[in-house]
Subunit: 396 residues, 3 copies
């Protein structure tokens, strides 16, 4: 294969992967819009739209050069390589915004999106996939993280945790005395399902494209294996949660099953190219189990996360990164459990602390959280001036 | 073109086709969720999600080796070839689950999905596309069926018919004395439309990918012709049903028009690569007409199919397979009307009988059908423990 | 790269682009279904479905040969080239049907779709991208219009303007005395958002595929740059409208923000391959600003356009074509501001006059507009015989 053929095929393949990832924009939007109450749906959709736009623009203007230096790529069009990287950025902020739904103001999170996409995330990328400012220091990250269990999902998850700590829970979510959780049902299950599958499909581009090239027999195999393993982990996450729900409640809670699938998908993301075709069953299943365990656990600590993003992205991002150390440790290639753990911890500290500081400062200038009256009335009217379903009569 | 270039391109192309087919998962889910009553929407979505997960996993662990022997493919990554085949499996069970909506319990159909994806469907594939256990016997199938008018759609349709015969109709669907049909309107037309178009788009991958390779001038032409003809048959099915509806009722019933499009798409699936660019107009139009004829006919026989799956998949699967014998008979290549008919009949008997037995046995252990009380209350609460649209006040 | 490899890759790439454009069919359908009142949703969906089917069929049977002469393409499968062109056609009629929503009968617009797809649009294509009947005449178009700011979006926009002039506004939209506009809120914001993003994604295929080939280093770069610039213009359109809305109302009106993004996307469509990566920020931002200015302006002239299609497609189609003359004028390659203006004007006159005549004649035979009673009751019942959301109780 000549370099030109490989250049063309990899450019095309990366564009294909980019497009799949962009399906995650409506994917996150539909998932979150379906999970929140009708009075907050427009705000969730507006948040998703604005932060996608702002974060992508910030990455174009600032972040990319921090992450990778100049625009440039050897084996493919530099613009295709850039598009692929840019598509990742919005996802991180989506993770954050999803978990603070039903109480977050849009404008302060737009500012946070600029900082996250322009500085925090590019720094994490620099350390892990990029030019590497940490090289030669004690913090030098040797973690293997193909498509970002840590770099994307945990980073987003830590930022979300810092946001939840600063903002607190939705009004009425926890009984102030007993801590009892008031269940707030999802308002539109078809949207939740549609969103989850759009995310699932986007993941094929996310992980498959992260192999970096399809233009050789070896790489073609690796891309196909990566996509197969990605899918298998999602299947396993869904199935195990389905079984657990059925055994415990005799009911199949679809929001948990779909979050189980997403948990499995996050868990596989660090090393889908490293496993045989059966290991993802275990990794994804544990991902699903972690969702079932951690969703109520976070509630116990009154960390209010309407869409389960902490369990899906933070917990499984960590699990997926460690899983590489357990199942695909390969000291000859520098993949060790310790290296994976170090990556998890360094990124955790940096992402949590930097996000906390930025959000803390923003919160002093523009409150991140709506007032209780606004929350009661619904964010749609207050943030966007229009309701999501104005003609539909509310049951309550 | 070197073998490596062709290997890379075909792997990429097959991954592309796989991804399009996976859009059919939300496609079926949205179509069916839109066609049923609001009280059964979550159950339909959960059914679609679980059987996709279970069927794919069963095919990974069991079915593929029955169908094709070892994992393996010559001209492309074996994992890409596997992904493509696996994507087909879920579709079959979707056909079954759609047609028994609003009364089917999820768990027994999960078990059926395992048997169907692990054994019944792989056997049909083995006979038609695979290693061929029937070779040299009197049943040797010479049927041409590029992307599965019979192998996928009729197989699913026969299994659905057996399920309907065992389960009976929804409560109140037919007047016990007169047989008069109570019309049960679709609850969410935008979802129906979205689902139908996602299926339509998935069909491009389904049929285009079934050509098996795009990596030569001839194959590139064949793939493009296949996709063009696939689309044309869908157009023709929609148009003819639109005209029929308008002439008869002066109203354009969108659910019939979309089912007409899907009928045309099923009908073309056996031989989209064999026709010139005008024949699909006729084949698709007849597909649409068959939907208009058979939807009321099945109701006359009290075969209750809330989404029209029998007319779309079973009837048009048969029609499409026969159409190849009529319009593209080519004895030199072994394509004859008799061969097509033999294929239809052999698969019919095997798929119907084996599905009937399996469903009959499952039904003895776990009833396939909800109780009448559960049906009245809605399957969502009973199967999933949550409603699809809890905040929206019902009009009735 | 051998001609065969290039043939295969470009066929595959064009199929990929075609599939992305087809996502615009549900994209337009969901956007428009979400923007109109619940009583008109089914009619909008049926309109979108039928005109897609009819227009594509008319282009297959008549229009393509007018536009391009024989079926044929040198560097790729002629069927792939045809699919790509056919996918464009439906978009034009979607623009028209969207802008006359909530009062347009379906059947007369089906006839208009045949004329538009069979004759008007192919003539515009012939003059601009095709065999060129105007060559050597004073009207010879030298306009640069890569993916159709003028050829698609303005053509559709002019046709829409003629339809609005003939049909008039929705009942009750404007106070007959004061001209005050009655705000009619969108009924389903998640659908609007989903539709807008499906359109956005389709645009990558629309513009990227219009480069015509990816099969060389230069073309791969050009395709990737085109997609990057397309996306950037959409981002800029969304961001600027978001800022304007917030500064003026302290609210982020999501329908305006999404229309701003679409305006930016239309504006970039004439020359996404000609700009550096920063110019699209300006071009898209102006696109968004134009939407904010023109939506109320058209209302001032009582041009009733429920989805903002005139501002998005007509105004920005013109702006985008002129922008090429401003930012990428290159007399050596025949790109001049005067040439761009001439293209805008010639197409404007032809598209507007021919559409006006055709619609005027159709309107005499079958009225384009529903009666006021039908409008009051809703088009769904009258045009389609079924409601979009029959089980949901209306709030008013």
């Amino acid at each position: 294969m000549t370099p030109e053929i490989s250049y063309v095929i990899d450019t095309f393949f990366t564009i294909f992967a980019f497009v799949l990832i962009i399906f995650m924009v409506p994917g996150f939007a539909m998932l979150e819009a379906g999970l929140v109450r009708t009075k907050n749906v427009t705000a969730v959709l507006m948040m998703n739209t604005m932060i996608y736009a702002i974060a992508s623009m910030a990455f174009l203007l600032i972040g990319y050069s921090i992450a990778f230096g100049d625009f440039g790529a050897d084996g493919m069009s530099k613009w295709a390589a850039f598009l692929f990287q840019m598509a990742f950025v919005g996802k991180i902020i989506n993770i954050v915004s999803g978990g603070v739904s039903e109480r977050a103001r849009i404008v302060p999170f737009v500012f946070f999106a600029i900082i996250m996409a322009g500085f925090i995330y590019p720094t994490v990328v620099n350390w892990s996939w990029g030019a590497d400012m940490l090289d030669g220091t004690i913090l030098d990250l040797t973690m293997y993280d193909l498509a970002g269990s840590t770099v994307i999902h945990s980073t987003g998850g830590w930022a979300l945790l810092s946001a939840i700590l600063i903002m607190g829970a939705r009004k009425g979510r926890y009984n102030p005395k007993t801590g009892a959780v008031r269940v707030i049902p999802a308002s539109n299950i078809p949207l939740v399902t549609l969103g989850a599958f759009l995310l699932w499909i986007g993941w094929f581009g996310f992980n498959g494209g992260s192999v970096g090239s399809i233009a050789s027999k070896e790489n073609a195999d690796l891309v196909a294996l990566t996509i197969l393993n990605t899918n298998t982990a999602g299947l396993a996450g869904a199935i195990i949660v389905g079984i657990m729900m059925y055994l415990k409640y005799k009911k199949l809670d679809i929001t948990m099953v779909l979050n189980g699938a997403l948990g499995g998908l996050v868990a596989i993301t660090a090393g889908p190219d490293l496993y045989n075709i059966y290991q993802p069953i275990l990794i994804g299943a544990i991902g699903g189990i972690l969702v079932v365990i951690f969703v109520p656990l976070f509630d116990k600590f009154r960390l209010d996360d309407p869409v389960g993003a902490l369990s899906v992205h933070l917990v499984n991002g960590i699990w997926g990164t460690i899983a590489v150390g357990i199942f695909a440790s390969d000291p000859a290639n520098g993949i060790t459990l310790m290296g994976q753990l170090k990556g998890v911890i360094v990124v955790a500290i940096f992402a949590f602390v930097s996000s906390y500081i930025v959000l803390f400062v923003i919160n002093k200038i523009i409150p991140l959280k709506s007032t209780q009256d606004e929350e009661m009335e619904g964010l749609d009217v207050n943030e966007c001036g229009l309701e999501a379903y104005p003609e539909f009569k509310r049951a309550f």
